[in-house]
């Protein structure tokens, strides 16, 4: 460790300490760190200490800084090391320990942005100099800021009543915290409620899900708003105001006993595209499934005879408690919560988008979701695996993997759950019928605990596996034995030969994809989506359930394809994060916000229109605009827009940015 000579400057002015990290050889291997430290010590304004050290983030490195702050009376600190996204917090804490306001610290990123992306030492060292110079010039103008403390409302909103949302809601409710669970459909349960068995243990989905559902329904701490949707979200962490629209059920919940007579008596039956995945029928007044929570039915006005022709009213006539109410209207509820957990799930890829698989044209091509209903004892065929004619049992079934997944024309990503569902389907078919099952895969990916073993089990049970993506499914018979069958044409890539297999039934393992309204929904909650449309987590590895918006968390398949165990884990994780916030009672909000100098504000209201968070309100009485620091997210767009230049962006004000510009251009010919 070399200790650079002091340049004596800094008397009166700021006293800056500069610390250049080797990060082992990660930085030192490409940047002459000692030279950079020496140069900073001699060349840069206000620098009174400049050191280089192996690992600044180590406790020794941090202690060195704290030591200097005390001994050398430093009032500014700059660390040239890795990305601020990694260690800014670390060093801010170190400064705070030594009594220096953390906002008087600045970081220069000479690892990710210099040593790791450079090829020559000379230019790399120059770039490090410039980056450091920028930080040093800037830090001189930084001002002490105090984080703002906000009380956290202990109530939480969970959006989405699938297994992830249910888990999150129950974790919090069991901890004695008030939760409101909002579900779009008439009942909670999500996709899991449609499934028959669950891999790899094959326990029946309903058996493990319905107890959790009724727990939600009965829990003293859970307010369940089913058949409802979030309309608007205002506010910020600790104190959100949410507007929820409760769609009219046309059934008074307080009066309804859930006896179901209305459903029996309803003369109008229609195809159920949601719960039965288009494979079964329901009435115009319906409950998605017998164990639905809540138990109250809803009237589908689109197909109800009364709503179409004004006649019928059968349901109302036969309802002894008189719960049916055709006059009911949508109502909006306003809710105050401290945190929000999104668990809005996924939807299945539209398999008609791959016409060569014949879905929608060839009757006996089914989607994975349709098949879940087909082998579900509560499904349209009471669990009998039969062809579209409803009676014939298949003799041979082909399972096609990666339909819409791992396909750059549709979704480049792997949907993660299909391999295991395919194995599960294979098992169910072999168990319930005498049919052969053929799986066509590109790569078999049974990735978690007990999954590979399940694959082996299916190998033993005699399921056939072919490595090759199916090219097409056709009803055009060519060879003997193909007449009247569906023919699957493929290359067996392990044989290197093109083959055809006549089958009776084809299952398409459709991709899991983001809900059609995912992006619009993300905007509503102030979140962003990846290119694919999955909600973006704060950090892919280290912060998977938090988001860039404090107080809003995500869980389950809305963040990416996930199976049940993973979704449950995330639901619990999100709940734990929220619980943490609540038990702390208050959160500190980074004071990096904008401020208006009302003295000189002309009240032109340009800034108001700039803010998507409604953080800027116009005070007509005083003809000035005012910023609510709790709602300001600190983007600084209004700062740049203010024609009078009277808005200051804390920690990113003009002076600071200007001097950083001067710094990084220290060596430019001026």
């Amino acid at each position: 460790m070399s200790d650079a000579p002091k340049n004596g400057r800094g008397n009166g002015g700021p006293r800056v300490g500069v610390y250049v990290c080797h990060c082992g050889s990660n930085i030192a291997g490409m940047v002459d760190v000692a030279e950079v430290a020496r140069w900073a010590g001699e060349g840069l304004p206000g620098v009174v200490v400049a050191r280089d050290y192996k690992f600044m983030c180590s406790s020794l490195g941090q202690e060195m800084i704290e030591e200097d702050i005390r001994q050398q009376k430093l009032d500014r600190v700059v660390v040239a090391a890795c990305s601020p996204h990694l260690h800014e917090k670390t060093f801010r804490r170190a400064c705070a320990n030594a009594g220096l306001n953390p906002f008087l610290f600045q970081m220069a990123n000479i690892r990710e942005h210099v040593s790791w992306c450079s090829e020559e030492k000379g230019p790399a060292t120059d770039k490090a100099r410039a980056t450091l110079a920028g930080a040093v010039r800037r830090v001189a103008h930084q001002r002490a800021l105090e984080p703002m403390a906000v009380k956290v409302n202990p109530a939480t909103l969970v959006v989405g009543g699938g297994i992830a949302g249910i888990q999150a809601a129950l974790e919090l409710a069991d901890a004695g915290l008030p939760v409101t669970l909002v579900e779009r459909e008439p009942s909670i349960g999500g996709h899991m409620a449609q499934f028959d068995k669950t891999f790899p243990t094959l326990d029946c989905a309903a058996c493990i899900l319905t107890p959790r559902m009724s727990e939600v329904g009965q829990h003293e701490n859970v307010t369940l708003l089913s058949y409802a949707e979030v309309e608007e979200v205002k506010g910020s962490i600790g104190d959100f105001t949410v507007t929820i629209r409760r769609k009219a059920r046309y059934v008074k919940e307080d009066a309804c006993t859930g006896c179901g007579v209305c459903i029996e008596k309803c003369p109008q039956s229609v195809v159920d595209d949601v719960y039965e995945a288009g494979l079964g029928y329901r009435k115009a007044i319906y409950r998605p499934f017998p164990q639905a929570v809540p138990k109250y039915p809803v009237i589908d006005t689109a197909c109800c005879t009364y709503f179409k022709s004004g006649k019928c009213k059968a349901c109302q006539i036969f309802c002894t408690p008189g719960a049916v109410d055709f006059e009911q209207r949508d109502e909006t509820v306003e809710l105050h919560v401290g945190n929000i957990i999104l668990a809005t799930g996924y939807e299945l890829f539209d398999c008609t988008r791959i016409p060569q698989y014949g879905y929608g044209r060839l009757a006996n091509v089914f989607t994975s979701l349709e098949f879940e209903r087909l082998c579900n004892a509560a499904g349209p065929t009471t669990g009998k695996i039969v062809l579209r004619d409803g009676v014939t049992e298949p003799k041979r079934v082909a399972v096609v993997h990666c339909v819409g997944s791992r396909d750059t024309r549709h979704h480049e990503y792997c949907s993660a759950v299909c391999c295991m569902s395919a194995l599960k389907f294979g098992h169910l078919i072999l168990e319930k019928t005498k049919a052969e099952v053929w799986s066509f895969y590109i790569d078999m990916r049974p990735l978690h605990k007990g999954y590979e073993e399940f694959y082996h089990r299916l190998l033993k049970e005699g399921m056939h596996f072919v490595r090759g993506r199916v090219a097409e499914v056709t009803d055009a018979a060519r060879l003997p034995g193909e007449e009247g069958k569906l023919i699957v044409q493929y290359e067996d890539t392990l044989l290197g030969r093109q083959r055809r297999l006549p089958v009776d039934m084809v299952l398409l393992m459709g991709a899991l994809e983001p809900r059609a309204d995912a992006k619009a929904n993300a905007l509503k909650f102030g979140l962003s989506c990846s290119m694919d449309g999955w909600l973006t987590e704060r950090h892919p590895k280290l912060d998977p359930v938090a988001t860039m918006t404090d107080g809003v968390f995500i869980a389950g398949a809305c963040q990416g394809p996930k199976d049940i165990p993973d979704s449950v884990a995330q639901g619990a994780a999100a709940a734990a994060r929220v619980h943490g916030m609540i038990s702390r009672g208050q959160v500190l909000i980074e004071p990096v916000v904008a401020q208006i100098d009302e003295e000189h504000c002309s009240g032109c209201r340009v800034c108001n229109t700039m803010c998507p968070f409604n953080a800027i309100e116009y005070v007509a009485a005083e003809t000035v605009s005012r910023i609510n620091p709790a709602m300001c997210k600190g983007c600084g767009t209004c700062v740049a827009a203010c024609p009078a230049g009277v808005i200051t962006g804390n920690h990113f004000d003009n002076t600071q940015v200007f001097s950083e510009i001067e710094g990084v251009l220290w060596d430019a010919a001026v």
């Binding site: 060349g43 990305s83 601020p84 996204h85 690892r111 990710e112 942005h113 210099v114 790791w116 992306c117 450079s118 090829e119 020559e120 000379g122 230019p123 790399a124 120059d126 770039k127 410039a130 920028g134 059609a516 992006k519 619009a520 962003s528 989506c529 990846s530 290119m531 973006t536 860039m548 032109c604 340009v606 108001n608 229109t609 700039m610 998507p612 968070f613 600190g634 983007c635 600084g636 767009t637 700062v639 740049a640 827009a641 203010c642 024609p643 230049g645 962006g649 990113f652 003009n654 940015v657 200007f658 950083e660 510009i661 001067e662 990084v664 251009l665 060596d667 430019a668 010919a669 001026v670």
Partner: protein, 181 residues
């Protein structure tokens, strides 16, 4: 100070590019490029802002006036802004700035708006390399000399911010078309 980067004459011209990167997407893209050891030209010097919407046209002019040969403004893809829609304001503001710069005879390639998601380290690296070569081809800007005397810069800043103000109040984009499914 004795430094080689100083004197252009006995060294081939190495363009200086100032990059204003938003904290959420493009800065992380640059982090990713580093983590993935993707190599790119060392000519860019990065300044982190919370959002590309913070980029005041004056920043760009300042950089050019202080001797930068080019400026890159980078942000999240439209529709993926961490602040929902602020990069749409960046687009509008940037078009205006381009307009002014053209009037001042600054070549188009010297100032560039680049989208890069946190996952697009390679894309950002390519963009930087591409820009460096384009600017290298254009040669030094040497604006400082042009603005040495007189208060040209201040006049400019005033002009730009004024025009920027004249833009507003723009209609609020609740959900911009680009985002609608």
């Amino acid at each position: 100070m004795t430094d080689h980067a100083h004197d252009h004459h006995d060294h081939p011209f190495e363009p200086k590019i100032v990059g204003f990167l938003c904290n959420w997407c493009s800065y992380r893209a640059a982090d990713l490029a580093g983590t993935a050891r993707i190599k790119y030209k060392p000519n860019i010097r990065v300044i982190r802002l919370m959002c590309s919407g913070r980029v005041d046209p004056a920043f760009v002019l300042k950089a050019l006036a202080r001797g930068a040969d080019g400026v890159m403004v980078a942000g999240c893809h439209p529709g993926e802004c961490h602040y929902l829609v602020q990069n749409y304001k960046t687009i509008r503001r940037f078009q205006l700035l381009k307009h002014t710069l053209a009037a001042l005879g600054v070549e188009d390639a010297r100032v560039r708006l680049q989208w890069a998601s946190a996952a697009e380290g390679q894309l950002l690296a390519d963009a930087i390399n591409d820009m460096v070569e384009k600017v290298r081809a254009l040669g030094p800007l040497e604006w400082p000399h042009k603005w040495r005397e007189g208060n040209g810069l201040d006049r400019l800043e005033a002009e730009v911010t004024a025009e920027d103000a004249r833009l507003g109040p723009p209609h609020r984009e609740a959900v911009p078309e680009e985002v609608r499914p």
